[in-house]
Amino acid sequence: MITLGIDVGSITAKAALVKDGKLLSTAVIVTGYNSKNAGDTVFEKILSEAGIKRSEIEGIVATGYGRNSVSFAGKSITEITCHAAGAHFLNPAVRSVIDIGGQDSKAIVMDEAGKVKDFAMNDKCAAGTGRFLEVMARALEVDINDFGSMSLKADNPAKISSLCTVFAESEVISLIAKGEKRKNIIAGIHESIGSRVAAMAGRLGLTSPVMMTGGVAKNIGVVKALEGKTGKSIEVSEMAQLTGAIGAALIAMTI
């Protein structure tokens, strides 16, 4: 049985093909402004790369912020449920998931079957999201892909106290003006997002093992900051960004 999961996020759209419970193929594209087109495009891409025909797919589930615009999906399921299922696939021992996406962050606790027991979301404020990091990287003229590793080089992380992304940016600018070392500012930024997300996760009560999913999981600085703030070790899979799509494809098997 071949099933497909499509995860249309604010920044990227992902697809995963699962055959008989095993991961067959994945694809990622930039979403752009039209999430419907993004769904169609990533669908076509994965079909051609895997050499699979549309008719061979027995179930399709869409998830992510743009899930309701994927017209060819059989069902749309929230990313909370899909990330839990996906994380469970990547490591069945995992009991908690932290997902920091482009425009929100989530913490999920699940049972031994990968089912969601409880969840918390920060969807009111950019300060706990990927967007925060992008704004800061731009302010510091650093490539977002190097941002995390640079934060680990700090000798004295700066304190960023503003709760708001826009005002935090002002704070960063004045730190630069004061001659604060760039690596220390970057570390401060990572501490800040770590605090924000850890506070939300703390409300939920994380159970180990904890896995981080979503695009921001690639940022080693955030992972380390989160470990520091939550006091728990956090694993990251190579497939972190695809967790939602994988979960969606797995759920498609049961529909």
Partner: protein, 371 residues
């Protein structure tokens, strides 16, 4: 030569001070919020009344309090949950505002800091029945704290406690007056440290130190910066010592306030005539009210105008904690009354995380330039 360092040290690290004191003397320490707490009764019970301020980063408290509650309440809960207040033998919550009210319940459910007493004072302060209720509540508080500490409070204990408090408040009032007349003598940051230390320091020691400090003022050593434009501060709890230096750096001199952690703390002498509990109640009734209490419709406005006129101030800076409802509700009418008197004012909402220095100073400078 003065003892400012002691005041600053205590004000900066009150928890450490309390821990040391407990270790050295085994003194019972009772935490409290709000200047409506009948401290006189706590002291009479032989314990140290220790005001809780709460500062620092919030993480544990987020699991119990939404972000739209003020940083005093969140910070205090954070301290409690992280174990920073485990030296307390008990905690006292007088009725103040909705947030403190719920903090009391949440604290009672989640934190173990000895005994827990709610002092449900009246919200009305200006009627006969509320005055009677106030006295009843104080008597009940006396019984509750006797139980909590396992002591009996005598009439003499109360009297001697009241005498101490009258003296402490008299010193504080004098120090404020001296500074208002001659701002160069005491930095406003110093003043803040003295008042804050007064809320946590062992009270006999405090009396000695206040006496020493007051004495040093009459030495006539003119210290500190030359005076800037005279301003009065208005608000509730202000636990940000840096604010004072920001204002001074922007060209202002603070010559008065109506803060809960300022003049309201030491206003009002307690009479020793008649029933002592009634006298204590009278002070809390008659002292200028916190906006969470009701005592007339224009009382606070009249009071601020009085302070401005008596201190020769040129303007008022309102400093509210973000999410402080009682103060925010009063602000428009207070501003209106000040406008009618031709007294300029500025409003600044503050949080535990200090406002960006640049932003605050710019606004402050611009305001002071207007005066």
């Amino acid at each position: 030569m003065n003892n400012l360092a002691l005041f600053h040290g205590t004000a900066k690290s009150p928890n450490e001070y309390a821990r040391e004191l407990k270790k050295e003397t085994g003194k019972k320490i009772v935490g409290y919020f709000c200047s409506y707490t009948p401290e006189e009764i706590i002291l009479a019970a032989g314990a140290l009344p220790f005001r809780i301020f709460g500062r620092g980063d919030i993480s544990l408290a987020d699991a119990h309090l939404q972000a739209y509650s003020c940083s005093l309440v969140r910070g205090a809960l954070e301290d409690a949950l992280s174990g920073s207040l485990d030296f307390l033998d008990g905690v006292v919550f007088p009725h103040t505002c909705d947030s403190i009210q719920r903090l009391s319940d949440i604290w009672r459910i989640n934190v173990k800091t000895g005994f827990h007493i709610d002092v449900v004072l009246p919200v009305k302060l200006d009627t006969k029945s509320s005055g009677e209720y106030m006295a009843d509540v104080l008597r009940k508080f006396q019984r509750d704290i006797e139980n909590g500490l396992g002591v009996v409070i005598s009439e003499d204990d109360l009297k001697s406690s009241v005498i101490k408090y009258n003296r402490i408040r008299s010193y504080l009032w004098n120090i404020y007056r001296i500074r208002s007349e001659n701002p160069a003598l005491i930095g406003s940051g110093d003043l803040h440290a003295i008042v804050k230390a007064s809320m946590v320091m062992e009270r006999d020691l405090l009396l000695d130190e206040l006496s020493v400090f007051a004495g040093s003022l009459h030495g006539g050593n003119v210290a500190g910066k030359p005076a800037g434009k005279r301003v009065v501060l208005s608000g509730g709890v202000c636990n940000l010592p840096d604010i004072y230096s920001f204002i001074e750096d922007s060209g202002g001199t603070v010559v008065g306030d109506d803060f809960c952690t300022g003049s309201r703390y030491f206003e009002g002498e307690i009479s020793l005539k008649g029933d002592i509990v009634e006298s204590i109640a009278k002070r809390y009734r008659e002292r200028i009210n916190c906006p969470a209490k009701h005592s007339g419709l224009l009382t606070r406005g009249e009071h601020i105008i009085k302070i401005v006129k008596e201190s020769g101030a040129k303007g008022v800076i309102f400093l509210f904690l973000k999410f402080c409802d009682p103060h925010s509700f009063d602000y428009p009418y207070l501003k209106d009354m000040l406008d009618r008197e031709g007294i300029p004012s500025m409003l600044f909402e503050i949080e535990e995380q200090l406002p960006s220095e640049g932003q605050f100073k710019t606004r402050c400078e611009a305001f002071l330039e207007m005066l």
